[in-house]
Every structure is written in C-alpha cells, then in structure tokens.
C-alpha cells in the first residue's frame, strides 16, 4: 500500500534536501562582505513606506472567505466526477441541485458587488 507513495517520499526528500542544502551551502561557502550599497533593497522593489505590521483592510478577508467557500464546493465535485458514470442521470440531477443552490450564492455575491474592489 505505502509502496505506491515512494515517489512522493522521494520528492519530499529532494525538496527538503534542496531547501536546507542551498541555505547551508551558501552560509558555508558564500563570502559575506556587506556594505551599505549591497544591503540596499536594490532589486526587491522600493524602500519601505511603512511598517508591515499594520492592520489590513477587511476587503482582503471577504476575498479569502469566498475563495474558501467555493473551494469547498469544488471538493464535493471530485467524488462525484469519479463516480459520474456509475451514478448516471440521478447523480447528475443531485449535483445539479447542489450547484444551482450555490449558484444562487454566486449571483448574490456578484449582484452585491462583493467581488468589486471598493475604494
């Protein structure tokens, strides 16, 4: 059973080895001669405007919330899709009801302009 997951284990192993290895190797081999110019944020954008630790707008939250809700809707589609042929027309109607109810929610979100970025 678990033998099937050997490639996954190998992938996780390589990912860990690369992540840890590259940090450790650059720490060991790399030269560190910092100067004011080198430490400037030269290629990562502009100097900081303010501290990152400030309160974020609720506008981000509603986008995240709606993402989660429709993500969970998508989760329900997987077992249905894999059983689609065996469930036949009955399963199709079931999923149709499910999708229509959530479509009502989607239309509500759209009409209320929750997906718009209000200034």
């Amino acid at each position: 059973m678990l033998e099937n997951y050997l490639p996954v284990m190998v992938l996780i192993g390589i990912a860990f080895a690369f992540a840890i290895g590259s940090v450790v190797m650059s720490r060991l081999i790399g030269q560190k001669k910092p100067s004011a110019v080198k430490l400037a944020p030269y290629e990562c954008g502009m100097p900081l405007l303010s501290s990152v630790q400030e309160r974020f707008s609720i506008k981000f939250y509603i986008v995240a919330m709606l993402f989660i809700l429709f993500d969970i809707e998508a989760v329900f589609l997987y077992p249905w899709a894999i059983m689609f042929k065996r469930l036949g027309i009955f399963g199709f109607i079931e999923m149709g009801v499910f999708i229509v109810i959530l479509l009502v929610g989607f239309i509500y979100v759209w009409k209320k302009g929750a997906l718009e970025w209000e200034e």
């Binding site: 309160r55 329900f76 059983m83």
Partner: protein
C-alpha cells in the same frame, strides 16, 4: 517500515502542535499549524484514505490556513506577544492530563482501536477509496450532501453581509 514512518510523523505532529502554542509570534504558530496539518494528511494516507489526505492539504493547509493568516493580518497580531500566560498554563496542564487519562482508558478497553465495520482494506483495494466516498455521499447520505450546499450558501451570504460596508 510503516511503524517507523508512523512514529516519525507522529513525533513531528506533536512537536509542531507544541510549537503552535509555544511560539510568541502568531505567524510562526500558523506555520507550525501547517506542519501539523500535513502530518495529519500523512496519517490519512497510512489509513488508506488518500482522498481525505488530498482534502486535508487542500482545505486545511490551503484554505483554512489562508483564513487564519488573514485574521492575524486583520487583527494586527504580527508582533510577538510579550506578556506571559500563567493562568492558562495550569488549566491547560490539568486538561491535557485528563485527556491523556481518557485516551488511556479507551485504548485499554480497545473500543477506540476497533477495526470492524463494512469498509475493509480489501474493499478499498478493489473498489477504490474515492469511489467509496462518492457512492456513500450520493446514495446513503444524499440529504446531508444537499444540506451542505445550503450551509455553504448561508456562509456566503453571511460573509458578504458581515464584511461589506454597504450591503
């Protein structure tokens, strides 16, 4: 081999769970929580439930984590908490000892680790795990499945009503 993998994952899960509560910076706690979620996904794989493992990663480590990080951002909890918490420490200690006792009792009786039931390893092997979930969801548990869509609809409307300035 499987036992070694289980104990290794369990160790990582427990250590990660410990650091969720130990870390003073909420963002570090959130990262430890992701580690814990991924360990749980490994447990699902070991229990021959690969679909549950995928959902665990997608919904918990993906979506729920986004929500937690957004709450940290919204409440401006990015800075480390300086104060010490002593009251909760004693209560938490008593509670965890009690939980450990309950778990020991149930493990001793064998009722928590029983392996009976309709769905066996052979059935999962022959029919497929995701197929079994699909069959159960769309035949036996049809009404709860449709109610889940109502629940999601309520959550969508609730999210919009609570967070929009003008509804």
């Amino acid at each position: 081999m499987e036992a070694i993998l289980f104990y290794l994952t369990a160790l990582v899960a427990v250590v990660a769970a410990f650091f969720v509560t130990k870390c003073r910076n909420p963002v570090n706690s959130a990262l430890c929580l992701v580690t814990n979620f991924i360990c749980l996904a490994v447990f699902y794989v070991m229990l021959e439930a690969p679909f549950m493992a995928a959902i665990q990663i997608m919904v918990y480590a993906g979506a729920i984590m986004v929500l937690i990080v957004f709450v940290i951002m919204l409440l401006n909890l990015g800075t480390a908490v300086k104060s010490r918490y002593t009251h909760g420490l004693a209560a938490g200690g008593v509670l965890s000892v009690l939980m450990l006792l309950v778990a020991t009792v149930f493990l001793g009786k064998g009722s928590a680790t029983a392996t009976g039931g309709e769905v066996t390893s052979e059935l999962i092997q022959s029919y497929g795990h995701t197929e079994l979930i699909g069959r159960a969801m769309f035949t036996d548990f049809l009404l709860p499945f449709e109610i889940a869509s109502i629940l999601l609809l309520v959550a969508i409307i609730g999210a919009v009503v609570l967070s929009k300035r003008k509804v």
